[in-house]
């Protein structure tokens, strides 16, 4: 039996030709790799030499060494080469704002700004294959389908050199058919932070949530909008009343971020704006505003992620305990009780922190609220906040010293409530004290499991149990 092939010699010659092609291809690829390496190294050296020659280094530009003669020499270079030389400098603009100004002037002089603007509008100068081969990234200029990369780069460049007047073109680019251009334009607009462009971004935010075809992500839009000054926050208020919950939430987050930035840059602006926002009619605005208030004076602190990790309580995790309140004057004490009745837990929590930020007076008011309220959830929340602020030992101290009637009443209420973890903390402190009697008197309100848990921490209860081993329930204890 032989291999059922139509023609052995044909197969052999066919395989030989494939082998020859593959081998040739392999060698060609290897040669191409080496050629590219050589070409790249040479090109790098040449670009460095040219940059030094034309004074296109950050240090030289900041010292104003790019003379009219250098500019004239630069003008003689083809635009793509110019762009290529300026590319590394553009990236340095973000970290060195003065450089952006110098570069903007140079780009204006050389006509690059105009070229970038025209490119974004889709006006490209045709390039022949020969020309394309002689310029860096020539393929991008030669092939029309790759023009989107140039449009995106142009948008980015306008943002990096902070060319404020280009904002209408960049705002138009938000509707570019290619999402890359949209994203680059968005970042450029964020870098410019031109107030007049903000409505266009808000419209895009709406689209990002409601229109699946939108090429921009909600997060990119939030990041971009948050770079605008807080004074422009009013333009976001319509978004906060948007019927879509995601738009409202995004607007609130942006406001949060704007305020944080404003706080870092200028506290007086912050105070003025926040005083309005803390009592805004919109629940979400109030929540965010109150959280922002917590960042006062300590916005530069790094979040202690560990606290997020170790704190088992939901609110603490979700809010991320970045700071403690430092500037209570932004929140009049008289207004705070109203916020405690807020249906949003986060608002109540922020209000509680604001109470504590008012010092002794705020604490007394809070204790009064605690004793006055019938709302169990709020009571527990207040205890949690007191615990978090480390005030429980202080309260217990008052009981030990038999001082502070208000504080003692608060502790009694905590004991009566039987909020287990706080009660356990109390039990370890109040051994032998009259509060134990308060607890005993109220034991029938609690479950045997809870009592078992207390037994684990309170020697007095243990001792009592030891004297009567049959005692598992609470009635004899109470007796």
């Amino acid at each position: 039996m032989v291999l059922p092939v139509p023609n052995l010699s044909f197969l052999t010659s066919f395989a030989s030709s494939i082998l020859a092609t593959v081998s040739g291809g392999t060698v060609a690829l290897a040669a191409l790799a080496m050629l590219r390496r050589w070409h790249h190294d040479r090109f790098d050296r040449r670009v460095k030499a040219l940059c030094t020659y034309f004074g296109l280094t950050p240090a030289a530009l900041l010292q104003g060494k790019c003379s009219p003669q250098s500019l004239a020499n630069l003008r003689a270079l083809p635009l793509p080469t110019l762009e290529f030389l300026l590319e590394p400098l553009l990236f340095k603009c973000a970290s060195a704002p003065p450089l952006a100004g110098v570069l903007q002037e140079i780009c204006l002089e050389l006509g690059l700004i105009d070229v970038w603007q025209r490119r974004i509008l889709g006006q490209f100068t045709p390039v022949t294959l020969r020309e394309a081969r002689s310029i860096p990234d020539g393929s991008l200029h030669f092939f029309g389908r790759l023009h989107f990369l140039l449009r995106a780069r142009s948008a980015r460049s306008l943002g990096l050199v902070r060319h404020q007047a280009s904002w209408p073109i960049l705002a138009r680019a938000l509707d570019d058919p290619h999402s890359d251009v949209q994203r680059a334009a968005l970042r450029a607009l964020a870098a410019l932070s031109e107030p007049r462009s903000l409505p266009a971004l808000v419209i895009q935010m709406d689209r990002a949530v409601t229109d699946r075809r939108c090429g921009l992500s909600l997060h990119s839009l939030k990041t971009a909008l948050a770079r605008f000054p807080l004074s422009q926050a009013t333009q976001l208020f319509p978004a906060m009343r948007h019927p879509n919950r995601r738009v409202r939430a995004a607007a609130a987050e942006i406001l949060h971020e704007m305020a944080k930035r404003a706080l870092v840059q200028n506290k007086s602006v912050f105070d003025r704006e926040m005083a309005v926002l803390v009592f805004n009619a919109d629940l979400r605005v109030r929540t965010i505003a109150l959280h922002v208030a917590e960042l006062l004076d300590s916005a530069n602190r790094k979040p202690a992620v560990h606290l997020d990790l170790v704190d088992a309580r939901g609110p603490v995790r979700s809010v991320a305990p970045e700071t403690s309140p430092q500037r209570p004057e932004a929140f009049p004490l008289a207004e705070l009780p109203r916020l405690l009745a807020d249906p949003e837990r986060a608002v109540r929590q922020a209000a509680l922190r604001a109470f504590l930020a008012h010092g002794r007076e705020g604490r007394s008011k809070l204790y009064e609220q605690f004793l006055k309220t019938e709302d169990k959830a709020l009571r527990v929340q207040i205890i949690e906040e007191l615990d978090r602020a480390g005030l429980l030992p202080n309260l217990l101290q008052h009981v030990d010293d038999n001082s502070g009637a208000l504080e003692r009443r608060v502790v009694e209420e905590i004991v009566i409530m039987g909020a287990t973890r706080y009660l356990q903390a109390a039990l370890t402190k109040i051994y032998g004290h009259q509060l134990l009697q308060v607890l005993f008197a109220k034991l029938e309100d609690h479950s045997p499991q809870k009592i078992d848990a207390w037994l684990g921490v309170c020697d007095a209860l243990k001792a009592f149990r030891r004297t009567d081993p049959t005692n598992h329930g609470h009635a004899p204890l109470a007796a």
Partner: protein
């Protein structure tokens, strides 16, 4: 005996045709993946010019990420790994190291290096795991938490980390890997810039052997000295730059290296976290997430990008290499068996119709076919079914095509990231790419066949690959808390 001869001959001819189809199909798909990858990587490298990493770095809207480092007997390298994770350039990140009951001094080294003290966080497991013994924390490194637990395996350790994770995304980082400073940002970039919800973002693993590391970072890049390591450098380039990139582009990603991958916390918890059903828990999880997304018709995306990098030490001895490859092959077979319900089901799209069948036929069965081919093709030659010229051509063609694909991967690296700065390194890589199919490929094939045999006998043992950690322990060692905070001041 003569009675059976025609059947034997027929079987031999049939098998030759199977080998031919395997050769054509396998190389055809690999070539297509390479072409797709060239395009993708080229565009990606051009897009870097206007990527918004600075915006992400500076914005506190960028979601927090928790890096989970599962560790078991990694005393030689763990401190450097944690240093690299703490030093990641990201606005908000925490690091959770899960010591999975190490019997060496992994925990001790961590406690000493980071001045850790016991702590008691609220631990409310979402996923079942083996019991946790202790938690450790240091005020000097507030975003580091070390967990000491009973041995439960890598998936169990990862699930413990997931239970402690409070951020919307977490990143898995193997305990023998060094994370490049901006890798987290680069992993997060496609998630945040895409209008679609992306639940998995994978990056590239590169080989650190031969390079110099210091303070949790690679400072001087070079090629390893031994040929077994150099072949692996080429292999990793081919696998990550062409294979995974290509599959990602056609929407068929089923493998995201667990050494460096970012996952959405919620999505992973919903599918029950990492499963211990297979020894390649990363692949298993990705396929499970795919399966769920298709079943529940959830429009989520899976991303793979070729510039987030973590550096790992590859095996430098045959024993360790064999362990690693056996495990990979065993895991592949286990995953294919576990998710066999997705095979050739149009409901699962490219994954069900293309990616999984490819992995089954080429990566799974293909291993056996190739192995048997090395035995039966010479038999065919001896039996007179193949002419000597055709046999020689066939062998040469197989070797040449393998070389072509590997050289293509090296060229792709040169066209885009150009990580190895010395021209000499490039020449060495090209030479090794051409020679990879002579000897090394057959060696790896042998280990893979062992992996399949392990699968067939029902073995589920995780074979640990030990590292010497020499590439990473040179240079000054102290990481300051300021550096650990990454980009706090940026």
């Amino acid at each position: 005996m003569d009675m059976w001869r025609p059947y034997f001959d027929l079987a031999l001819v049939f098998f030759n045709l199977v080998i031919l189809s395997y050769f054509v199909l396998g190389n055809g798909v690999y070539t297509a993946l390479m072409v797709i990858s060239v395009r993708a990587v080229w565009f990606h490298s051009r897009r870097q010019a206007y990527q918004g990493l600075t915006d992400l770095r500076e914005s506190s809207l960028t979601p927090a990420v928790t890096i989970i480092v599962p560790a078991w007997n990694e005393e030689r390298i763990i401190v450097e790994t944690v240093r690299s994770a703490l030093g990641a350039d990201y606005p908000q990140h925490a690091v959770i190291v899960v010591d999975d009951g190490s019997t060496d001094s992994t925990l001790k080294r961590l406690l000493t290096a980071f001045m850790l003290a016991p702590t008691s966080p609220g631990y409310h497991p979402l996923l079942p795991t083996s019991p946790v013994r202790n938690f450790y924390f240091s005020p000097r490194f507030p975003n580091l938490l070390v967990v000491h637990k009973q041995r439960g395996g890598k998936p169990d350790a990862l699930n413990t980390g997931i239970n402690l994770c409070r951020s919307p995304y977490f990143c898995c980082l193997d305990a023998d890997c060094i994370l490049e400073r901006d890798s987290l940002l680069r992993l997060m970039e496609p998630i945040l810039s895409s209008p679609r919800e992306i639940i998995v973002s994978g990056g590239v693993v590169r080989i650190i052997n031969g390079s110099t590391g210091s303070n949790g970072q690679v400072v001087k890049l070079g090629l390893p000295r031994t040929f077994i390591e150099r072949f692996q450098v080429v292999e990793y380039l081919r696998s990550f730059l062409t294979g995974r990139n290509g599959w990602s582009l056609v929407g068929g990603t089923v493998i995201v290296s667990g050494a460096l991958a970012l996952f959405q916390h919620k999505a992973v918890v919903e599918v029950g976290g990492f499963s211990a059903d297979t020894v390649t828990e990363d692949m298993d999880l990705v396929i499970t997430l795919r399966e769920r997304a298709a079943r529940d018709n959830i429009g989520v995306g899976f991303s793979f990008t070729s510039d987030p990098v973590c550096w790992t030490e590859c095996p430098s001895t045959y024993t360790m290499l064999s362990r690693q490859r056996r495990r990979w092959q065993l895991g592949l077979c286990q995953c294919l068996r576990k998710h066999r319900g997705m095979l050739l089901r149009p409901r699962y799209g490219v994954v069900g119709m293309l990616s999984l069948p490819f992995h089954l036929y080429i990566e799974g069965l293909g291993t056996l076919v190739e192995f048997l081919g090395y035995l039966l093709v010479p038999l065919s030659f001896l039996g007179g079914f193949i002419s000597p010229a055709l046999l020689t051509l066939f062998i040469l063609l197989g070797l040449a095509y393998g070389g072509f694909l590997s050289v293509g991967a090296v060229l792709l690296e040169e066209m885009t990231y150009r990580r190895y700065p010395r021209s000499k390194d490039l020449l060495v890589l090209l030479a090794y790419a051409m020679l990879e199919n002579v000897g090394y490929r057959q060696l790896i094939l042998f280990f893979r066949v062992q992996g399949i045999l392990k699968f067939l006998v029902g073995s589920h043992r995780w074979e640990k690959v030990m590292h010497d950690g020499q590439s990473l322990t040179s240079g000054p060692a102290e990481l300051t808390p300021a550096a650990a905070h990454g980009s706090a001041g940026k």
